[in-house]
Symmetry: C3
Subunit: 657 residues, 3 copies
């Protein structure tokens, strides 16, 4: 079932206003709302005194109108009495500043008192709502780890971190060995000498850093799991979701999946590239298959606080909703239903404006609701099958977070660039954890996969031998799992598999590019400029497919390929510009029926028992023309389109193929 709904905040409105709002929801054919994420102070106005009567009538009314409820455990925003009675729960940053208690995520998930309080509120909600009609699912907490909140440096965390490393290493000698503590002069002899890495990023012991990043992710997952366990025990038939920030990066989302029954994500339009939202969707989808967009924002991303978010163009909100469905979302919740009058989110337009009048945006939601209702059933039973996977390694990302290697490098932006290259060819792209099953993929791209161990490399080797294509990029294999630099010539454990070692890494100023020549052995015949980072490859069995053209590097390989068993490994030793990357990756992907997809247009193909469904989405404000490989019925309009087709600005096609 394709759920369509909204994030609703009955705590902000009178009963009369809510009645009007619900009528508008019904009219828009909404079938679900999410509520309660900021309502701890409503649910538990004083410690231990719980109240539900403010919300229950709303849930009942919604239910009567055919609208189900997803409830949030409200632990992202603690009531003011928490800080007043339990001042020790406040999160602390690396410099010792306390988090402002008037913002979200101000509490430390390792503070025992906070754990006690969140257990109590989750318990109480779970018991009460276990049997209330209409409630179908729980979102635990909200936007976990957003705004840097996954990293806390308080005394509770220092103690918990000591426990964590003690459990992991058992002895200080092993800890010193793993962290290479001797290198920085910070060997420890007693557990209470272990501290949190408060130094500036990049100047921190690499081993200590990666363990801290892992510890923080584990802590947050522990916080989530405490509540998930309570909810599962009390409400066994309810779904459990989250509101993940897909690219936030401090939380190993794949590990969170164990405790989630359906993944959820927040989606705020970033208009610089429509595929950014798809990337987030695919990250959520890769957690649990189907997923929900818990917050599909009504306006575009606006980083500066205190300003009204950017307005979406006509038809754009509808397109963002359909884009979610195309990516496999089984639920889309528009955020917020009505623009809040106060609080700290009051400059975010909603489906309704502050005055509650339904205007252009509401009309668009009406249309979307109709279309979802009409087409939604057609989507049942279909599935998304990706032939290409992007391996997103959190260990590598955390290693890179502190030590990116080259100035301005951002691990996840690099991942996105490779994701984008896949998507531009029409392929769906899974985003997977290094320990995921990969047999089913034709191509696995492992961007900047620095932190590796023998087992992972062995699995990748097996994958390649059995016919897979593995694509590696600079810095791959340079770290051990302790985040230590490898002592094996780079690409370290990948050297044998890639059939090459790195003779030299040249780090150069950004204004001194090298020219790359794809003439020998490459499928694309061209040159391009590369910058900042040049790995000089010594092939040992691999064949060069791109070489440097300039100066002393002339003729040295920069990209090599090695056939292994039935498959191949490609090692890219430079950072290719986006256009070249798109061409180059494109050459190594499986065939896709639609060629020449215009920039700004996204194609997504679902596979079902009754045939395929193909979404074509125009992410731009201009009309786009494209060529389909035949004629197809459009499930929305019912008309047959193709092979030449023009899509209006922000337009979409849902083709039955």
């Amino acid at each position: 079932m394709l759920r369509f709904g909204t994030c609703y905040h009955p705590e902000q409105w009178t009963a009369e206003q809510a009645a009007d709002h619900i009528k508008l929801m019904v009219k828009a054919r909404m079938n679900v709302v999410r509520m309660g994420e900021a309502c701890w102070c409503k649910f538990e106005p004083e410690q231990g005194r719980f109240r539900f009567e403010w919300l229950d009538p709303i849930i009942a009314t919604l239910h009567k109108e055919g609208i189900s409820t997803v409830l949030c455990t409200p632990t992202a925003i603690a009531p003011m009495w928490v800080y007043n009675r339990h001042p020790g729960v406040v999160r602390v940053d690396a410099r010792g500043h306390k988090a402002p208690t008037t913002a979200a995520h101000a509490c430390c998930v390792n503070a025992p008192e906070f754990q006690m309080l969140t257990d109590a509120v989750a318990q109480s909600l779970a018991r009460h709502y276990a049997k209330i009609d209409g409630v179908i699912a729980w979102q635990i907490d909200n936007a976990l780890g957003s705004g840097g909140s996954a990293r806390c440096y308080c005394e509770h965390c220092e103690k918990a971190f000591r426990q964590w490393v003690l459990a992991k290493y058992q002895s200080t000698d092993k800890l010193n060995e793993a962290w290479l503590s001797a290198s920085g002069g910070m060997e420890v002899r007693q557990w209470n000498e272990v501290t949190l890495p408060r130094s500036e990023r990049g100047r921190t012991n690499a081993g200590q850093w990666i363990d801290f990043a892992r510890f923080c992710s584990d802590s947050l997952i522990g916080h989530y799991k405490r509540q998930a366990d309570i909810l599962k025990a009390n409400c066994p038939s309810h779904e459990i979701t989250c509101n993940a920030v897909p690219r936030a990066g401090h939380l190993r989302l794949h590990k969170l999946s164990d405790h989630v029954t359906v993944a959820g994500r927040v989606s705020t339009p970033d208009r610089t590239d429509g595929l950014i939202a798809s990337y987030g969707h695919d990250i959520a989808r890769s957690m649990t298959g189907a997923f929900w967009v818990m917050e599909q924002s009504c306006s575009a991303r606006q980083d500066r606080p205190g300003v009204v978010s950017e307005t979406l163009d006509p038809a754009e909100l509808r397109r963002w909703c359909w884009q979610a469905a195309a990516a496999g979302a089984s639920g889309v919740y528009i955020y917020p239903f009505r623009a809040p009058l106060g609080g700290d989110d009051n400059l975010r337009p909603g489906v309704l404006d502050w005055d509650g009048k339904p205007r252009r945006r509401y009309k668009e939601v009406l249309r979307t609701g109709d279309e979802f209702a009409k087409v939604g059933r057609e989507l049942e039973g279909v599935a998304i099958e990706a032939k290409v996977a992007l391996m997103r390694s959190f260990d590598s990302r955390w290693s890179s977070e502190s030590q990116p290697g080259l100035p301005g490098f951002h691990h996840d932006d690099h991942c996105f660039d490779l994701y984008r290259a896949v998507k531009r060819k029409g392929h769906v792209c899974d985003t997977i954890d290094p320990d995921a099953e990969i047999k089913k993929y034709s191509v696995v791209i492992a961007p900047c996969l620095t932190v590796v161990d023998d087992a992972l490399v062995a699995r990748l080797e097996k994958y390649v031998k059995e016919g897979g294509t593995l694509i590696l990029t600079p810095q791959s294999g340079s770290r051990e799992t302790t985040n230590a630099m490898t002592t094996i010539p780079r690409p370290g454990l990948f050297a044998a598999l890639a059939g090459a070692t790195i003779e030299e890494i040249i780090v150069a100023p950004g204004d001194a590019p090298q020219t790359l020549n794809f003439a020998r052995g490459a499928l694309i015949a061209q040159t391009c400029k590369v910058r900042s980072w040049f790995e000089v490859i010594e092939p040992i069995g691999a064949e060069p497919i791109a070489e440097y053209l300039d100066g002393r590097l002339k003729g040295k390989p920069a990209i090599v390929r090695r056939g292994v068993g039935n498959g191949q490994v490609i090692y890219i030793g430079v950072y290719l510009p986006r256009e070249t990357l798109e061409l180059f990756i494109g050459e190594h992907l499986p065939d896709f029926p639609m060629k020449e997809i215009p920039d700004g247009v996204e194609v997504v193909q679902h596979k079902g028992e009754k045939g395929r469904i193909v979404f074509v989405l125009n992410h731009t404000g201009e009309r786009q023309h494209l060529k389909l490989p035949g004629t197809f019925p459009d499930l929305i309009t019912g008309e047959t389109v193709g092979p030449s087709v023009t899509i209006s600005a922000n337009g979409i096609l849902v083709l039955k193929a």
Copy 2:
């Protein structure tokens, strides 16, 4: 009487040096000095031991020479013993950092110990100087609220804020209602759960924020009033002034006026636009009518610390002095008399350089003193009568401080742009509080007047009906007095009066401008580009006077006008570029006899019983030519000038008309 003098620091000089300085003051026909702003440690070297003998001979000598004294209460800079004995008085910022005690304004005005200490020193000074000849006035404290010092986040302030909100709201329910606490999940049940808004600006609960801003302003006014009451009780015939920073913005200056007998301001030349100083003057003038420039800096504004301030050109210091007089100043105190040798202000040139030699600047001061003495008497009895007023709402400004709505928007810069448009046409412009009497004005401009209530709108409606012109700009009427977003379609309470509602607000990237067309109904026939913020107006009785020309907004009104009774309301839904704003506002102002005032030239007209006096000031370093509406005697040179006249760089004319 036009007072002309200087800020003098006898604590920095020997008796011999002071004797030389006073001779030079006398020669420059100075009749007043201000002293003591940094002398708490001289007046009270140990707690409770007061000393005046270091200053009294100077006051006596000055008095003998015909120079009166304005004394400062020295509470802006606490002696080092204060911090040593009363460490709890130190101001704290939002992140918990203590203010450095070696800087000014390091103490919290809500700290009970600090209040006790300031009472004591004010009391002691007031008693001693009540009957000392020569002392005519008090400046209380110094540069109140400058450098962000109006905002303190210490525990004293938290307690005082709780008292303040308790007094205002009486119950936590009413507080929660006003702050819409439910929106952000921060409802309180007990007063000690109320905290200060320590979150990042723009991410703070809007209601809490505006009350905090009001509380801080009230606290500072309370600090001022404590001293004013002591001084008035002891020295009933002395004037009471302040040294306001007109644009600082954390202190509601109009509310301070109640305790001031003559407003004072600090004026540091900002050479980017000569009218910036006039804006500050008009703000001070609007407090109490006549006003004093307590510190007319000898050098130009230099924001970076540790650098020598920019040098003024020949004749420029004189021009700044005359500009003050033109704006209605009845006293100008040049700062400092001699450049200090040490302290933290030692890179500010004075009338004299560090070596005490009278050079170019002193000669200019000599000339200015002569001219002031000569022309000053002519200015007695004249008055400034403005037909135009700019409504500067502190509530709206504080709302905007945290939530400007669009990136880069600064409420007071917007006010200045409108002020400037008025001044460019020759008109004097009052700057008034929303509760000021407005009947006397032909035009009232209320820039970004977001925070309004029924009473204010009713008064403005009455004003318009009786023939006034009211000009409103974007975001007007969007907030309630609690800083909540209005639920009435924008412009909220102004909608009926303006005869229009806002169908949609479009917030767009700065690089996607819209073209505005003034063709239909507008007095200026032209187009212009507008950016970032487009209100789409639905006229309900109003007539469009400018429309959008591009894309889907084509033909939609952006500016409308509605005749109401004998007056009219103009609502501007975009941010006009400066040039267009000048033209547009110009069309709606009363007639002014002098047309075509060149850019960089300011004209100010005083009205007296014996006729008008017209100042013409050249703010530029180039000669300027202009046309007068006749021939007039120049009171400075005695010559008759006009109708064509050339003014030298930084030159001035004081015409009798």
Copy 3:
């Protein structure tokens, strides 16, 4: 003896790895290593328990192979147990933030516990290594004062500062007088009212600031001296060195010289200008004559943390080594020998890469080692004799640090610009303290020598009368030794000697340049644009050699020259652009045999009993052509070169002349 070696970290490697490393060192003809700078936790794993057995075998092996050892006292990086047991030793910044204990220099040198701990470890090491064969020298601590670590604002420092000012001033009255405390309202009556200057730089009392800067430098020198005394007492025949950061600026290096037997410095290639390294070398050389480059980095400067340092081009590392020798270094230690696998320095390539394989860089080191061995003996007995000295006044620099006078001015960059002008003409340039002996120089350049007293000016006057040329630049003589502004017309105490006073200082926006005309009396006939700071000079005996050409300054002198006795004083009242400065300074230097040295080429001449040796270094990546004043044998190749000669990229010549 020309020592050639490396910084070695046996704590990071196994015995087998170390054995391999030592073989490679021997092969590269290394004769010295530096060890132990980060090994406190190895030497003293628990408080009071000392261990040497982990290091002694390495020292013995090295010694057997003919490689001597320089040991570091390891006090730059405290073991974790220090922070755990003695939390009060942590350094604190001006805002109250504690230094992160996982970084170097986290301890306050004024903390009594830290002094006790460093005494103990130094004592223990000194006793143990006094008689161990192979150990020849001590480096005390490491990179003293780097990263701002010389400035601590903890309570220990506040107390120590009070002692320091008490000792200096004896009475609070004298303190108030020196600091001109009255100017900022901060007079003190009791010693415990004295605080550290925690205000923003530039807004601090100038007197308090300079004394704090002196106190911090003294504190660090005291820390160094404690250890030097212990080492000298126990190891009388060992050399004592340091690893100075020549331009760091918080430590008065000349005062450190008293406790050093051979100066040492860290040298990280800054490729923007090859002469920057020479400047640092000459600063180290000026401390003790011969000096060691304790850390000659294998890669170029990379300010951002977490990124791999920039790669050096082929032949470039060799050139940096030879450049050190050319500057008079008697020892060059390449850093590090092998890239560390962990810690916080793991992105710095070494002679060997992380995998320990000898590659391109090792081959270059081999070649350099051979050349050093071959040519080193020729350099014995030669000396560097400078005819030109640059007076680097730390007092002036500290004054300028807080109050640079004009925006963007950096005292030491200004010094370097003048140094560079000297070097471009082929001259060696000493960098001297104001109290150094200057008789031997033909020219003394004293850049921005603001802080002066009678004695210094008298010495400079004597120097000039006896035939010297003294060159002064803007702001000279503007401060007393208390950092107070002088009351003598500028250039203050220099006025009489320079035969000029400054009529006016004009500080102008950077976009309003003045044109300078060198026509009258100048040796270079040209004009140039100058910016931001214009001193208008009134000659009183001096002759103008450059005048302003524009506006009201037209014809006013900007640079003057006065013959005094057998010498002359040149006063430059503007900041000349680099090219003009080079020409202008060049005209006043003694003759040098080689003319027209291309930009990017450095020439250094040594003088010995057997003749001169001339180094020619190509700092660029391009071939350079130049003309020698004859033909000379190149000591490296044995070939005769000249008069026309071409030097390869990063090439060098060592000519016997």
